[in-house]
């Protein structure tokens, strides 16, 4: 485990790390300062090897040498206080800490290496299991993000940096108004640990201000990003030497492109270059250092006084004047007002009129009048060369704005505004103009008519070709040709449509008329019509083609898709055993509705809402449908099977659930080394209803998996294919199927980057090409934070994703407050062989054992050992060996907790073994990078209370609480959690329920999910079955613990303990 930290010493970026110390930390007696102030090694220093292997793992070439530098850390009683409890227990001392230097091994990184490293860290607490970003490292990544945005926005200039002995050409960020604010914000957020490094020789703690540290790093990073992009690598150092340049300016330009940026030249010339470059930049400084932004606000003409006339009469006169109902061209003047907008508080707008001579009490009084005037005048001077009207307004003293007519206003909106904004001015334009997608405008839309009513099972697919008429509409108002011509005659680029200003420019009207003449009708597949309906718009002849005016069955189909309602609610399939809750009926019917049209569906319900059940119901339903049809046609034929792909850890779970809910459907598990291949596989698969396999095999066995024509392909935990480049994602897309379903419990619609791959699997082509998606959605949403693109993406993908939250009681009113789930896990090969060895061992012992105490002892110890093996090999071996990758249960727990954390929820994990609890704490801490609380029998009361307080309070990021059943099973109030995991079983429902009730009790506001972990094919499953069978009738018998097991015969025990084939998951 390593927590990564970073800082700078001078211009050098260093990476260092903290790891739990293996040695006891020597206590220094309080009050006695060591006479010899030798700086001691930081006790939690990760050390050189740990750092370099971490760097290698993160894809950065771990260099040969680490340096020793000092980090100044708050220290109490001679012990430094580490960054996180993951490193060491933080002493709960009342003593005031002091700053002390500690030496650490630190890796010097080149700027480029630092950029690469920070890119991989952005927003990621856990970089890899056990590699965790410290808060300071995350902050550096934020700072880099800022540098990236400055480069993207071209907010930098070439400059000259005068060093002690050399002159360097560098790209210098320009922090104008808003960016200056961002820089200040960034500096404020910096964890001071980011500026706590100092050279070994320094005897004083570093005290460079955060703002400067932030600025210097951004300067260096920005310079590097720009330089690396334009770098002319082929030029050798020699060519940069002075002789090859005619002038210092050529040398400068060349140095701006060179890797190290050194300018070679005469000292005097260099000095002059530096001063000229400052002089060159000076005009900008006036504008960029102002606390205000100069703004232009376009104000609409005042609305005419409402006349005391009846509404209808008014309309009539309007109509007769303009010729078109709903549309008018008001007279009256617009106004462009000059304003100053405060960067600090953007809601503060001061009319420039007041700024020429600020009155008492004006916020401008804080600033020098001369400076304000200079700012106003330079701004207006710049603006005057952009707009002649602005120039004209400056002919009179103290200008404050100017009036303009509608045509001029339109020109301001379409021309001046963009130019002013590009020049750095603020523009406050009316909302009806700036709203991009929702703006009312002239467009072409298809008018489709489906003649019949929509009928289920009509055999229609998305490939059906439908014909439609084109029509031209303004917003939702369809226009006739005559109206359009009348509109053209008005020659008013801005008109009022139903009381709201809209743009109808000449070019658009002409394009519309033109479009119409050329394309009165059209034809397209239902799939394309659907694309139009969900808003994937295109342009034709300069006219937006978007939206759909659909009536009849097509309209109905579309509204059902968009609203996810109105489709047929199906009864449970006849072969389905078990009951569906009302919302599960809806979910399953929705799946069936989409399946009927061959549309891929993503069911993204919250964990615990029963995605599995709904999917199985769909599969069963579909099998019955198809069977009916097939029987109609030729009486008998093999049905196509369904392929279900899931993570290895849930294969058994699916198998169990299928056996329980769809017992008629035969299940084949395609897994393990003895799995069937090629033709053998195909034959076998065709004789089953469901084939379950894993993502790993999906890619490995694709060759023959894709040879089967599947009825459906279901991907469980579909986020596994979120990266479209991976082999498994490509493999998933290569499969042929009548329907496709993706299941996921994570908020898939929010992960823009992941959406394309899943959608491409479900409905190929809907989101366009991957590159197009990146251009149209990913970058606008992620980099430009364009709400319009986000809205559009939601609209396009919405019809195919169903996500219901447990918390949404309006949709799920019928959810029980406690949902119990059995989570079937698999054993790893190592676990299985250990299990077999224990079995062999106890088999002999039991044969030899005599009745009574001895036999009882043997059985109980066997029980414990087998349970330990099921938990984790290291728990059984007690050898402190590595945790990851060796236990099916731990893998599954980690996966589910991942979703829990992703959804911002909290969990309790119960185990009856303290040593397992300790292992889980360590493992989960390394996996999630956050502190995991662990309560066991040896925790003193006071500390226990503090833990509970911290967990319940929610101030800190403490989503997981591991408890030993004995210490935490009763009495505590832990309603902060809404997930309870029983990692191993006590075989006593009463005890387990009591533990569950720590979360499920008064004060709990959410539904509680209870996850009982069971290793399938082992004693855990057998005992669970026995208890299930007996629980109603004889709770007392089995309810008291494990003693009853010792009463069983050897044969019975052998049956219970036996290891069945399905147990192994590899």
């Amino acid at each position: 485990m390593i927590i990564l930290h970073a800082g700078r010493v001078g211009k050098q970026f260093f990476l260092w790390g903290e790891s739990p110390s293996e040695n006891e930390i020597p206590l220094v007696r309080r009050g006695r300062k060591p006479k010899n102030p030798i700086v001691k090694p930081y006790p939690y220093d990760s050390g050189f090897e740990n750092l370099s292997s971490t760097l290698e793992l993160l894809g950065i070439n771990g260099r040969k040498m680490a340096e020793k530098i000092n980090v100044w850390v708050p220290t109490v009683g001679g012990i430094p206080l580490p960054s996180s409890p993951l490193v060491a227990e933080i002493p709960d001392s009342k003593a005031e800490p002091s700053l002390a230097p500690w030496t650490v091994h630190a890796y010097p990184l080149e700027t480029e290496e630092a950029i690469l490293l920070l890119c991989t860290c952005m927003g990621k607490r856990v970089l890899a299991p056990g590699i965790i970003s410290g808060n300071d490292l995350l902050w550096w990544a934020d700072a880099l993000k800022f540098a990236g945005s400055l480069v993207a926005g071209q907010k930098y200039l070439p400059g000259v940096r005068v060093g002690e002995e050399e002159y360097r050409a560098f790209w210098e960020p320009v922090f104008s108004g808003e960016d200056a604010g961002e820089l200040a914000k960034l500096a404020k957020q910096m964890p001071p640990a980011a500026r706590a490094l100092a050279p070994e020789a320094s005897s004083m703690p570093p005290e460079m201000p955060a703002a400067l540290v932030a600025r210097q790093f951004i300067e260096d990073a920005l310079d590097q990003i720009v330089r690396s992009e334009i770098g002319e690598k082929k030029l050798s150092k020699e060519t940069h030497k002075r002789k090859s340049f005619d002038s210092i300016h050529d040398a400068w330009v060349s140095a701006l492109k060179s890797p190290e940026g050194l300018i070679y030249g005469d000292e005097k010339e260099l000095l002059q270059l530096a001063s000229r470059s400052r002089e060159w930049q000076r005009p900008l400084k006036v504008l960029t250092t102002s606390p205000f932004r100069f703004c232009f606000r376009l104000e609409e003409p005042a609305v005419e006084e409402e006349l005391e006339e009846p509404e209808a009469g008014r309309r009539d006169t309007k109509k007769s004047r303009e010729g078109i109902a709903d549309i008018e061209v008001p007279e009256g003047l617009w106004y462009v007002r000059y304003l100053l907008q405060s960067y600090e508080d953007p809601s503060l707008l001061i009319p420039v009129k007041e700024a020429w001579k600020p009155k008492k009490g004006s916020p401008l009084k804080k600033y020098d009048v001369k400076n304000i005037r200079q700012f106003l005048l330079s701004s207006l001077g710049q603006a005057s060369s952009i707009s002649a009207e602005i120039a004209f307004s400056l002919e009179a003293p103290n200008p404050s704005g100017y009036s303009l007519d509608t045509k001029e206003a339109y020109r301001f909106l379409t021309e001046s505004a963009a130019n002013l904004s590009q020049a750095g001015f603020g523009l406050l334009l009316p909302g009806w103009w700036t709203r991009k997608g929702t703006k009312t405008h002239l467009k072409a839309q298809a008018k489709v008519k489906g003649k019949k009513e929509l009928q289920a099972g009509s055999g229609l697919t998305l490939e059906k070709i439908v014909s439609f008429d084109w029509e031209i509409a303004l917003g939702d108002r369809v226009l006739t040709v005559r109206e359009l011509q009348a509109l053209a005659k008005l020659k008013a680029p801005l008109v009022k449509f139903r009381g709201q200003w809209v743009e109808v420019n000449d070019a658009e009207i002409r394009a519309a008329l033109d479009f119409w003449k050329k394309n009165p009708q059209g034809e397209a597949s239902l799939r394309d019509v659907l694309k139009m309906a969900v808003g994937a718009s295109e342009k034709a002849n300069g006219l937006d083609v978007e939206g759909l005016n659909a009536a009849g069955w097509i309209g109905e189909l579309i509204s059902r898709l968009k609203d996810k309602s109105g489709f047929e609610e199906l009864p449970a399939p006849s072969g389905f055993s078990g009951t569906l809750r009302p919302y599960q009926f809806r979910g399953y019917s929705w799946l069936a509705f989409l399946r009927q049209w061959g549309i891929g569906a993503c069911l993204a319900d919250d964990m615990g809402l029963g995605k599995t059940v709904q999917t199985l119901a769909l599969i069963q339903h579909d099998m019955e449908q198809v069977k009916e049809q097939v029987e109609k046609v030729d009486g008998h034929k093999n049905q196509k099977p369904v392929l279900l792909v899931c993570p290895t850890s849930v294969i058994n779970n699916w198998k169990k659930e299928a056996a329980r809910f769809t017992p008629e459907l035969s299940v084949m598990v395609h897994h393990g080394t003895s799995r069937k291949k090629k033709e053998e596989f195909t034959t076998e698969a065709l004789s089953h209803a469901i084939v379950i396999s894993s993502y790993g095999l999906l890619q490995r066995d694709l060759e023959f998996l894709k040879g089967v024509s599947w009825a459906g392909v279901v991907l469980d935990e579909a986020q596994n294919i979120k990266n479209p480049e991976t082999k498994q994602a490509k493999a998933a897309r290569a499969l042929e199927a009548d329907y496709r379903i993706a299941l996921t419990g994570t908020p898939v619609e929010n992960n823009v980057g992941d959406l394309w791959s899943i959608m491409e699997f479900l409905n190929p082509g809907f989101l366009g090409s991957q590159a197009g998606f990146k251009r149209n959605f990913f970058i606008p949403i992620q980099a430009e934070r364009d709400p319009e693109a986000a809205r559009r993406l939601k609209e396009i993908t919405g019809p195919f994703i169903l996500r219901r939250l447990k918390t949404d009681t309006s949709i799920i009113s019928d959810l029980p407050e406690k949902i119990e789930m059995k989570t079937y896990c698999t054993l790893t090969k190592e676990q299985a062989s250990l299990y077999a060895a224990v079995l062999e061992d106890i088999g002999d012992a039991m044969e030899e054992a005599e009745e009574g105490i001895q036999r009882k002892g043997i059985i109980l110890s066997a029980l414990t050992r087998l349970k330990q093996v099921c938990n984790h090999p290291a728990q059984f071996l007690k050898d402190n060996s590595a945790v990851p990758g060796r236990s099916g249960k731990v893998a599954r727990l980690t996966e589910i907790l991942d979703t829990v954390l992703e959804n911002g929820e909290k969990a309790l994990v119960f185990t009856q073994f303290a040593e397992m609890g300790r292992m889980l704490k360590e493992h989960l801490q390394a996996s999630f990078g956050c502190e995991v609380l662990f309560l066991h029998g040896e925790v003193p009361r006071k500390q226990r209370d503090r833990m509970i307080e911290r967990f319940q309070e929610g101030k800190e990021y403490l989503p997981i609480f591991v408890l030993s059943l004995k210490a935490g099973g009763t009495g505590l109030n832990l309603t902060g959690a809404n997930h309870v995991f029983h990692f191993d079983r006590w075989w006593n429902p009463a005890v387990e329920n009591q533990a569950t009730d720590r979360a499920f009790r008064i004060g709990q506001t959410k539904n509680v999910g209870v996850h009982k972990f069971i290793c399938a094919g082992t004693l855990e499953e057998k005992i669970d079955e026995i208890i299930e069978r007996k629980v109603e009738v004889a709770e007392n018998v089995v309810g008291t613990g494990e003693g009853w097991l010792t009463e069983l015969s050897n044969d019975e025990l052998k049956d219970i303990f036996a290891l069945r084939e399905e147990a192994v998951g590899e």
């Binding site: 927003g123 300071d136 071209q154 910096m190 005037r373 005048l377 330079s378 590009q422």
Partner: protein, 312 residues
């Protein structure tokens, strides 16, 4: 071109010593300058009937014979490489306007903000000269009375070709920075702002009296506008509270988090350098703006990638 006998008794060779990296005029042929105000400046020179010296001066300016130019209030010093190994020293002095002349002018300028606005934005207002004329002044030196030139070369003619070369280059600088003429007339940016600024209070009746004090130099501290240059940094001590030190308990709220940053590639590249215009006395081979534009265009996508954490 003929050689001249000069008072010291030797000939001036026709070819000056070649200079590398001198200030090269950015105009390669034809009219030297673009703006009307710079043209006015050049016209003054050309009215002196220098004959061949004029075209020699022009080609000196284009070849880069001028190795340095230093502009101070009221005068210009320059070095020009001629035939002598040691460059000649050129000075051009312009008559500065008196305090009372500026007073009168301030009154005129204050009434039309466009003058100050244009000047501050790097442009000479078209009819500013008329404001000067109204009070019997001229912004540009028009006669030899307004201009005093000197060169260390042996040529008897004044202006000589060296002076002409400097004069041409100054013309180019005028193109870029119209304020230069004010500087030569004795008023720098800050003085000018004081003059203009005070004029901006039409209610004040005794405006002229207020403007009167021009001879006093403005305090140096009030130099730049809002410039909060990171002044001598005051140290910021590391906190002792471990929670704060390690950033465990952030002192900022969620909204303050760095989510407002965007990475937008602007539709028009290199807006910043374009706003700044030409680099003073550019001697580079390539056009600065052109090469910058290429660089900005290439770097922007890389910035987006870094922003998204996708740098490879």
């Amino acid at each position: 071109m003929a050689a001249y006998w000069n008072g010291y008794g030797y000939y001036e060779p026709t070819k000056p010593i070649e200079v590398k990296g001198g200030i090269k005029a950015q105009s390669k042929r034809g009219s030297f300058v673009k703006s009307w105000w710079a043209k006015r400046w050049i016209e003054t020179l050309e009215s002196f009937n220098l004959g061949a010296r004029l075209s020699r001066g022009k080609s000196y300016a284009r070849k880069g014979q001028v190795t340095s130019i230093k502009i101070e209030t009221g005068f210009v010093r320059a070095k020009v490489q001629g035939s002598d190994p040691k460059p000649y020293s050129v000075t051009i002095k312009v008559r500065t306007l008196t305090g009372s002349e500026w007073e009168l002018l301030a009154e005129k300028l204050a009434l039309k903000p466009i003058f100050a606005a244009k000047l501050l934005a790097g442009e000479m207002p078209a009819d500013i000269d008329s404001s000067f004329r109204e009070i019997g002044l001229s912004l540009f030196p028009e006669t030899l009375d307004d201009l005093e030139t000197d060169c260390s070369c042996p040529d008897w003619s004044n202006p000589c070709k060296h002076i002409a070369a400097v004069y041409y280059l100054l013309g180019e600088e005028f193109d870029r920075d119209p304020f230069l003429i004010f500087k030569l007339r004795g008023v720098d940016m800050d003085d000018f702002m004081s003059i203009i600024g005070k004029g901006f209070v039409p209610e004040t009746v005794d405006r002229v009296a207020e403007v009167g004090v021009l001879t006093e130099r403005p305090d140096d501290k009030t130099r730049t506008a809002f410039e909060a240059e990171i002044s001598p940094v005051s140290p910021e001590l590391l906190p002792l509270d471990p929670e704060v030190f390690w950033g465990r308990l952030p002192e900022y709220t969620e909204e303050e988090k760095i989510c407002s940053i965007e990475a937008h590639i602007p539709p028009v590249p290199a807006a910043l350098p374009k706003r700044l215009g030409k680099f003073p006395f550019w001697c580079g081979e390539e056009d600065l703006l052109e090469s910058l534009e290429k660089i900005y265009k290439r770097a922007s996508p890389a910035g987006v990638m870094v922003f998204l954490g996708e740098r490879k």
